[in-house]
């Protein structure tokens, strides 16, 4: 049994230690907002925060997450996360929406480190998150908008 803390809730999962955290979150805990896209840290759809840092949960063994604070899209609630979600709705960012949990987790982590990111900062922080629908232009605008919201 591996003990996990996800969105401040304790869980115990019966998983082999090398199983990626993604499948523990989705299939065992039942939080499906975190998505599977590639399984090799190429698309960012599975991004969660582990102790506040963005992590590709498809390539992160569940055993390494034990005892750490894991946040998924469902648990994203503090000020910056709320601002990001608000900006995402205001600018109607999602198309199919499948990549967007990961985009929002990455954007929130970026804004925590850099409340006023430049376009270059956005390029650097967000290029690990693919969007096949091509919502990039709105993602960029929404990050700037969320940044404004957290300044005021």
């Amino acid at each position: 049994m591996i003990k996990l803390t996800i969105n401040n809730q304790p869980y115990e999962v019966d998983a082999s230690p090398e199983m990626p955290l993604l499948w523990a979150i989705r299939d065992m805990v039942g939080l499906t907002g975190t998505k599977f896209g590639c399984g090799m840290a190429q698309c960012g759809a599975c991004t969660v925060h582990v102790d506040g840092n963005p992590v590709r949960s498809c390539s992160f063994p569940v055993s390494a997450a034990a005892g750490k604070k894991i946040t998924t899209i469902e648990g994203l609630s503090e000020r910056i996360g709320e601002a990001v979600k608000k900006a995402w709705i205001e600018l109607q960012v999602p198309q199919c929406g499948y990549c967007q949990s990961g985009q929002i987790m990455s954007a929130t982590a970026l804004l925590k480190n850099k409340p006023k990111p430049t376009d270059a900062d956005i390029d650097a922080a967000m290029q690990g998150n693919l969007c096949r629908c091509g919502t990039y232009q709105r993602i960029r605008s929404a990050i700037h908008r969320a940044s404004e919201m957290i300044q005021s």
């Binding site: 199983m19 896209g37 109607q92």
Partner: protein
């Protein structure tokens, strides 16, 4: 708040409503002549030979049924909006439910061909308008006042002189007994509160907080997971397999064969079924499978491409002919020829193919991300011998469609597996499965010929397409010109007197498929780049050359004039820059781009992108802008990233590291202009923004560098 209803038994729900007359159920009856009329389902009792779209319950709850699966294109808003506008309700007060292929909802339960809004615009407004008029009549009767003194607003009917009102829920039962108006009065577009305005999509909040349910998110009790090993050499046969090691993996419960069905392309795979997906993946690694490659292990794209070039020497079937091309071309003072090539590409939606299926006794239940619930209902009842009322399809949000989810091959596999093991099965393709197995957009090669008069006017034009077909039907006739593979080449509005367009079919054994904007995605490239070559040969400005061939009024002419204006076409660019233009009209609609590029080292930087899309009528401009921007990104990926290639019968690419997509840092800004000046034809949104992007880009590169790109993909960082 709109939400997804997936767990209620919709059929019983409707029947209950219909029988008790508890509410107003309105639908469209599609007649043989294709004309749809609005009919009252509640009055129709149990027969239900109609397609119900709107349901009003006594409680005031309004449900709008959406036959167009949401794949990111915004039909979760645009389709219900057509009804809600006329019904005078705001979408946030409505429950929107995807239909699951039920006969009552008619034969057009699919998302594809950018068809959703353009084919439903008037008929669905009539549904809403009829409901509104029936509710108003019910209220007027109740108050004993003239109908003319009543109006509907915000899900209520008001009596203007007295100000009294009744909610739709209170009126639903009486309204259901009102005769359905033959010709309901549609609102004057100037009174629209939803249509034509940028409107928020009801699915967006769900996609921002993680609660939107995609196919891959479905879980049902007692469900097991499947991962399927298919032969890496496409077109092989399964000989045998040894599952002894696989079965020893903890959590593995069964190993079974299943068949992937994609038209004439059939292939057997071996599924490892386990209590967790991870265990299924480990079990799959432990499988030992023997395949018969059927000679397909010798296939590679390089050789195949050469065979396409060779096939281009064939005359081909005539797709379209006007004037006398052969004679004019032979005698013309100025002529030119060019050969264009494009690659195979993958759809690669970020949500991999998946399906949950549950076979119990003689009933089948399917939960999946699909573009085609109607087709699944038709095909699966036949293939598996299930009565239509025993098949229930839950259409989930699609994590991308792009044409991939027009094909339910992945649904077939899951259905066979649940039937074999007697438990609900969730089958998930890995990204590697998705990348390697297709179905793929085929390549097209194009042999172009053009002739000019001495004063530089286009007098003859030929586009010959050489390609495999994406038509996977058994009875495909390869001697005929294939309209899908020559899409749009004879639809351009350029006035060229002598034209002969041709098609040469060349067989390819791979599973092939439509891809967003289908064959226009490759043919627009050859077509519009070659028009540019003709302009250069004629020593004319490419925009002026095009407009010179558009003397008659047309949407194309308006579109190009719009692009000319918004891009400041005639304003000189900085040194080292170039601009290019392209447009393409095809069944889905009409779009165009002006792209500006600059030289950057050995490569090219895209500086500015101006897009125009002609719709005639627009439902949600905000969604249109997003669709065109997204289409440009997808087109750029197809133009400059690897595409799909084969060696030894196997797909070379496997995941996003070697089948790359454009990322945020590579995405230029796209400024979108929507033309919505009415006009007889409403055009599509999802696809027309794609085809003209690559030719506009390549024409801009020519203008900046003098280098003519005739083969996709190309390396944008190594042009000169």
């Amino acid at each position: 708040m709109a939400n997804q209803l997936t767990n209620i038994d919709r059929r019983n729900f409707l029947r209950l409503t219909g029988i008790t007359g508890a509410g107003l159920v309105l639908g469209l009856s599609a007649h043989a002549d294709g004309v749809a009329t609005v009919e009252n389902l509640a009055a129709a009792g149990e027969s239900f030979e109609l397609t119900p779209y709107v349901l009003i319950e006594k409680s005031g709850q309004i449900t709008i049924f959406n036959t167009k699966p949401e794949i990111g294109q915004g039909t979760f808003q645009s389709i219900p909006a057509l009804i809600a506008e006329e019904l005078e309700v705001s979408l946030d007060k409505v429950t929107i439910q995807h239909t699951g292929g039920e006969k009552k909802f008619g034969g057009a339960q699919f998302s594809g061909g950018s068809a959703s809004v353009r084919t439903s615009y008037t008929s669905l407004r009539k549904v809403g308008a009829s409901a509104r008029e029936m509710l108003i009549t019910a209220a007027a009767t109740h108050w004993n006042v003239p109908v003319s003194e009543c109006y509907a607003s915000d899900a209520k009917v008001f009596h203007r002189p007295s100000g009294k009102s009744l909610g739709y829920g209170e009126l639903a039962e009486a309204a259901a007994r009102v005769e359905v108006p033959k010709e309901p009065r549609l609102k004057d577009p100037k009174d629209f509160t939803i249509l034509g305005k940028p409107s928020p999509r009801p699915d967006v909040p769900l996609k921002v907080n993680g609660t939107a349910q995609f196919g891959i998110d479905v879980a049902v009790p007692d469900m097991v997971y499947a991962s399927i090993e298919r032969c890496p050499v496409l077109g092989s046969k399964l000989v045998s397999y040894d599952d002894s090691a696989a079965k020893k993996v903890k959590g593995v419960v069964a190993v079974e064969k299943c068949e992937r069905i994609h038209g004439v392309y059939r292939s057997e795979g071996v599924a490892v079924i386990a209590e967790t997906y991870w265990a299924a993946l480990q079990g799959r690694k432990a499988l030992k499978v023997t395949w018969d490659y059927q000679g397909n292990d010798k296939f590679n794209t390089k050789t195949y491409e050469q065979s396409l070039r060779d096939a281009s020497k064939q005359e081909g079937a005539v797709e379209h002919s006007q004037g006398d091309f052969d004679k004019t071309f032979a005698e013309a003072p100025v002529k030119l020829e060019a050969f264009y090539e494009t690659p195979i590409v993958s759809h690669s939606p970020i949500e991999p193919m998946n399906c949950v299926a549950s076979w119990k006794d003689d009933s089948l239940e399917i939960w999946t991300s699909t573009q085609v619930p109607g087709r699944i209902m038709d095909d699966f009842t036949k293939t598996y011998g299930i009565a239509p009322e025993k098949l229930k399809i839950h259409v989930m949000f699609n994590g991308g469609g792009f044409g991939r989810r027009l094909y339910p091959d992945y649904v077939h596999e899951a259905v066979q597996l649940t039937r074999k093991i007697g438990r609900p099965v969730k089958s998930i393709w890995t990204r590697e499965d998705d990348t390697r197995m297709g179905p793929f957009r085929p390549m097209t090669f194009s042999a172009m010929k053009g002739a000019l008069s001495a004063d530089g006017k286009a007098i003859a034009f030929q586009h010959k397409v050489i390609s495999p077909t994406l038509d996977m039907r058994k009875d495909y006739d390869k001697t005929k010109a294939d309209g899908t593979m020559t899409e749009g080449i004879s639809e351009q509005k350029y006035e060229i007197a002598n034209m002969k367009n041709l098609y040469v079919h060349h067989y390819l054994h791979l599973p092939l498929a439509a891809w967003r904007a289908v064959t226009s995605t490759t043919l627009a490239f050859s077509h519009e780049c070659f028009i540019d070559e003709m302009a250069v040969k004629a020593k004319k400005d490419p925009m002026a050359f095009r407009l010179g061939m558009l003397t008659k009024e047309s949407d194309t002419k308006n579109l190009l004039n719009k692009l000319k204006e918004v891009s400041h076409w005639d304003k000189p660019l900085p040194a080292g820059w170039g601009r290019g233009v392209a447009q393409y009209e095809f069944f889905a609609g009409l779009g165009g781009f002006v792209v500006e590029v600059s030289k950057k080292g050995t490569g090219i930087k895209i500086e500015k992108v101006y897009a125009a899309i002609d719709l005639g009528t627009v439902v949600n401009p905000d969604t249109v802008e997003a669709q065109v921007q997204g289409a440009a990104v997808m087109a750029l990926t197809a133009a400059v990233k690897s595409g799909i290639t084969f060696e030894n019968g196997q797909t070379v690419q496997s995941n996003y590291h070697n089948n790359q997509l454009i990322r945020i840092n590579e995405m230029p800004k796209v400024e979108v202009h929507i033309l919505a000046n009415g006009g007889p034809r409403i055009k599509g949104v999802g696809e027309p923004g794609l085809p003209p992007f690559a030719p506009a880009l390549c024409n801009a590169i020519y203008a900046a560098t003098g280098k003519r790109i005739r083969r996709l993909p190309f390396d944008i960082n190594k042009i000169v």
